[in-house]
C-alpha cells in the first residue's frame, strides 16, 4: 500500500446525495439495468441441494423466499442503512410492522419498555393496548422529562422508545441524554425518525441504536405506497449483560446460533429477519420497495423544499389574525428551539401544529373549505396535508386520552408540501375566511 495510490486523507466514500441514488445496487450484476429491477417473484432457484441447505443454515448470503428477503427490497434496505450510517436494515410492509418487529426482536413476555408519551396515535395504541396482550408492558414518559426516562427503568426494561419530535405537539426528546441514560442501564434506544428522515437527522450520531421509519411518509414522498424499515446502528453490545438472551443465547431455530456472537454489529437485523420476518411475515412487496426507491432518489431535494416551505408557513401563521398559537421547533419561543437547532441543523421538518381562533367549529370549517390542501390521515406527502385531530385521527380517543396525547380541540395539524408557497397561503386564506364565519359558509 504505497502513499501515492491514495486519494488524499479524506475518505472518499460516497456522500448522502450519491448514496440516495446508488447505494445497495450494482447494475453490472443485474444485466446492466440502470434502474433497479423489480424482482416480482416469490422464490429463487437453488443451484443444488447443497446450495439450498447453505442458504437455510445462513452459511451463505442469498434469497430463498420473498417473505424473508427479495433482491429489490434488499436494495432499499441497503440504501436506507447507508443513508442512516447503519450496518443493516430490514424493510417491512408498513411503519407499524417495523415497530412491532423491532419490539418483538428485543422483548419477550414479562419484559418492559420505557416509551415517550408523544407518539403517532397508532404507535400509542400498540404500546398501550396491544403489547400488553403479549405480556410486554410499557411506562409512558413525557418526551421533555429526561430524568423521568431514567426513573421509569425497571429490572426487566429492555429498551427506550421515542420519536425525536413528538406528534403532534412538536416536543423534542433530548436524544443524546436519553441515549446515555439507556446505555448506562445497559439497554438500547430505539428512535422512530419518520418525521426527520436521515436528511434532517441521523439518530445514530446522537446515540440511538435502532432507527425506525414509516417509509410511507417523507422517505417515499409520493404517498403511493405503504412501507417501513428498521435500521441497526451496530454499536450496541448485546453481550454486556444478561438482559438479552434472545440475542445472545443459542437459538434453537438455527442450530443453536447466537446472533450476537456470530453477527455482532448486524445481529439485531439478522434476528429480526430470521425470526420476526419468518414467523410474523410482514414483508414488503418488491413493487412498493421500488416505489419507495424512486422517492428516496430525490430525498434531499424534496426535504430542502419541505423545510423552506414550512419555515415560510411558520412565519405566515405566526402573524395571522385567525391563528391563536403555532407550534414548530422554528418558533423562537418553542421550548426546544435551541435543542432543535442542535439536533436538526439541516431543517426542523415540515410538521406544524396551530390553534385556530374559534375552537373546534372553526377548525372544522377551515378543514372543510381549503381546496388545495388535502384533508387526509397521512403526513409527509409532497402535497400539503391538513387534519383536525380532535375530529379526525384522534376521534376515537376520549377526553382524557386526548389531553394525554397533547391535543386540543382547536389544533390543526399541517404537513407542509412542496407546492408553490403562495398557492398554499392563498388556500389557507380561503380556510381562515370560512373559519371566521363558520355559519355563513356551507360545510359540504
Amino acid at each position: 500500500m504505497s502513499d501515492k495510490d491514495k486519494k488524499g486523507t479524506k475518505p472518499n466514500t460516497y456522500k448522502f446525495d450519491t448514496l440516495s441514488l446508488h447505494a445497495g445496487y450494482q447494475p453490472h450484476k443485474n444485466a446492466g439495468s440502470r434502474q433497479v429491477p423489480i424482482y416480482q417473484t416469490t422464490s429463487y432457484l437453488f443451484d443444488d441441494v447443497d446450495h439450498a441447505a447453505a442458504l437455510f443454515n445462513l452459511e451463505r448470503g442469498g434469497h430463498i423466499y420473498s417473505r424473508i428477503s427479495n433482491p429489490t427490497v434488499a436494495v432499499l434496505e441497503e440504501r436506507v442503512a447507508s443513508l442512516e450510517g447503519g450496518t443493516a436494515a430490514l424493510a417491512t410492509s408498513s411503519g407499524m410492522s417495523a415497530i412491532f418487529l423491532a419490539v418483538m426482536t428485543l422483548c419477550e413476555a414479562g419484559d418492559h419498555l420505557v416509551v415517550s408519551s408523544q407518539l403517532y396515535g397508532g404507535t400509542v395504541n400498540l404500546f398501550r393496548l396491544t403489547l400488553p396482550k403479549f405480556g410486554i408492558k410499557c411506562t409512558f414518559v413525557k418526551p421533555r422529562d429526561t430524568e423521568g426516562f431514567k426513573k421509569a427503568i425497571q429490572k426487566n426494561t429492555k429498551g427506550i422508545f421515542g420519536e425525536l419530535v413528538g406528534n403532534p405537539g412538536n416536543e423534542i426528546m433530548n436524544m443524546p441524554e436519553i441515549a446515555k441514560i439507556a446505555h448506562d442501564a445497559g439497554i438500547p434506544l430505539m428512535v422512530d425518525a419518520t418525521y426527520q428522515t436521515p436528511y434532517l437527522c441521523k439518530p445514530f450520531e446522537h446515540g440511538a441504536d435502532i432507527v425506525i421509519h414509516s417509509l410511507t411518509k417523507w422517505m417515499a414522498g409520493h404517498g403511493s405506497s405503504m412501507a417501513g424499515i428498521l435500521v441497526e446502528g451496530g454499536k450496541f453490545d448485546w453481550m454486556q449483560n444478561d438482559k438479552f438472551p434472545t440475542m445472545t443465547a443459542p437459538y434453537e431455530g438455527y442450530h443453536g446460533l447466537s446472533f450476537a456472537e456470530e453477527f455482532g454489529p448486524t445481529a439485531f437485523t439478522m434476528k429480526a429477519r430470521a425470526e420476526g420476518m419468518r414467523d410474523f411475515g410482514p414483508c414488503l412487496s418488491p413493487q412498493n420497495a421500488w416505489n419507495v426507491l424512486q422517492g428516496i432518489e430525490t430525498l434531499s431535494v424534496r426535504m430542502k423544499k419541505h423545510c423552506s416551505n414550512a419555515d415560510e408557513m411558520v412565519k405566515y401563521l405566526s402573524s395571522h389574525e385567525s391563528v391563536a398559537w403555532v407550534s414548530h421547533p422554528n418558533v423562537p419561543d418553542h421550548p426546544d428551539h435551541e435543542l432543535a437547532k442542535k439536533l436538526l441543523p439541516n431543517g426542523r421538518g415540515s410538521m406544524i401544529a396551530f390553534g385556530i381562533k374559534g375552537g373546534k367549529d372553526a377548525g372544522v370549517a377551515f378543514i372543510n373549505n381549503v381546496k388545495l390542501a388535502s384533508h387526509l390521515a397521512n403526513v409527509g406527502d409532497t402535497r400539503t396535508l391538513v387534519i383536525h385531530p380532535a375530529s379526525g385521527t384522534h376521534s376515537q380517543m376520549d377526553e382524557a386520552t386526548l389531553k394525554f396525547a397533547g391535543l386540543s380541540h382547536d389544533m390543526i395539524r399541517l404537513s407542509v408540501g412542496i407546492e408553490d408557497i403562495d398557492d398554499i397561503k392563498n388556500d389557507f386564506e380561503i380556510g381562515f375566511r370560512a373559519a371566521r364565519k363558520p355559519r355563513l359558509v356551507s360545510n359540504q
Binding site: 475518505p11 466514500t13 445462513l58 452459511e59 451463505r60 447507508s82 451496530g234 456470530e262
Partner: protein, 274 residues
C-alpha cells in the same frame, strides 16, 4: 467458543456447529483491527461440511481477552499455541490481509503443524501509509473510515452485499470501532509496518498454498500478492475481478467457491485422530 492461551481468554466462532475434535481443523485469521465476524460467510459453510472451524479474535480484539500482540512473529507463535490449546496437532490456515502475514510466518515456523495455507488479499510485506498509521495510533476514527474506503473496490462502494440488508462499508467500520482503535488497529498497523520477513518465510513453505487476489485491491495489489505467491513452491493463484481488498465480504460467494475447491481437495473432511 472460549478457551485459554497464555492465561488469557480467547474467543473463536466455530461457524455455528459444535467444535468437534474428530474433524479436521481450519483456523481463520482476521485482518488489522477486525474480528472473527469478517469470516461469517466462509466459516459457516465449512462448519456445516465436515470441518471444525475456529474464526479467531486475536488477543485484545473482538471478544478475546488480553492485549493486542505487537508483532507478526508473536501472532504466528500464538496461532501455534491455539492449535495445541484446542487439542489438535495440525490445522489448515486461512488468512486475510494482516492475517496473511501471520499465517505465512506461522507456516514457515511450524511446518509440521500446518497442512494447507489460503491467503486472501495477501502480500509479502504491508508497509503502511504513514498518515493512516498515525491516525490509528492516535485513536482517530478517521483511520477506520479511510481503511474502509481504501479496502473496498469501486463496486464494493455501492454495496450490494450477498446477505440481504447488510451494508458492508458500515459493518466493517463498526467492527473496527468495536474496541479502542489505538489498541487494535494502531497496534496491528504498526506490526504490519515492522514485519520484514514475509518473503523469506514464503520460501520455506512447502505445503499446498492458495492466494486469492482481487483486481481492485489497493491495500495489497495483485502485483504484490503475486510476488509473494511466486516464492511459494507450487502455489495456486486465483484472481477475482471487480472486487477490492474486502473480498471475503464484497464477493463472499466467489471467494467461498475457490476456497472450497482448494481445501476440500487438499485437506479433505475425513475424520482425524488427534
Amino acid at each position: 467458543m472460549k478457551f485459554k492461551v497464555d492465561g488469557h481468554e480467547v474467543y473463536a466462532s466455530t461457524g455455528g456447529r459444535p467444535f468437534d475434535k474428530n474433524k479436521p481443523l481450519i483456523i481463520f485469521v482476521h485482518g488489522s483491527g477486525l474480528t472473527h465476524m469478517t469470516w461469517v460467510l466462509q466459516t459457516r459453510y465449512f462448519a456445516f461440511h465436515g470441518y471444525s472451524c475456529l474464526a479467531l479474535d486475536l488477543p485484545g480484539h473482538g471478544l478475546s481477552g488480553g492485549e493486542s500482540l505487537k508483532s507478526i512473529e508473536d501472532m504466528a507463535d500464538w496461532i501455534s499455541k491455539v492449535i495445541e490449546s484446542v487439542g489438535f496437532k495440525e490445522a489448515s490456515l486461512v488468512g486475510h490481509s494482516q492475517g496473511c502475514l501471520v499465517t505465512v510466518e506461522c507456516t514457515a515456523r511450524y511446518p509440521d503443524k500446518i497442512k494447507t495455507l489460503s491467503l486472501m488479499g495477501g502480500a509479502g510485506a504491508i508497509p503502511m501509509n504513514k498518515e493512516l498509521l498515525s491516525l490509528a495510533e492516535n485513536n482517530d476514527p478517521k483511520a477506520v473510515d479511510l481503511m474502509m474506503d481504501w479496502a473496498h473496490g469501486p463496486a464494493g462502494h455501492f454495496g450490494g452485499h450477498p446477505v440481504p440488508g447488510l451494508y458492508h462499508i458500515n459493518t466493517g467500520g463498526m467492527l473496527a470501532k468495536s474496541r479502542t482503535i489505538k489498541n487494535t488497529l494502531g497496534v496491528d498497523f504498526r506490526a504490519c509496518d515492522n514485519y520484514k520477513n514475509g518473503f523469506e518465510a514464503a520460501k520455506k513453505i512447502k505445503i499446498p498454498t492458495l492466494s486469492i487476489l482481487a483486481t481492485d485491491d489497493k491495500m495489497c495489489p495483485v502485483k504484490e500478492g503475486k510476488k509473494l505467491a511466486d516464492l511459494i513452491e507450487g502455489s495456486k493463484v486465483d484472481i477475482i475481478d471487480n472486487c477490492g481488498h474486502m473480498m471475503l465480504l464484497e464477493e463472499a460467494d466467489r471467494v467461498l467457491k475457490v476456497l472450497k475447491n482448494f481445501i476440500t481437495k487438499n485437506y479433505p473432511a475425513k475424520k482425524v485422530i488427534n
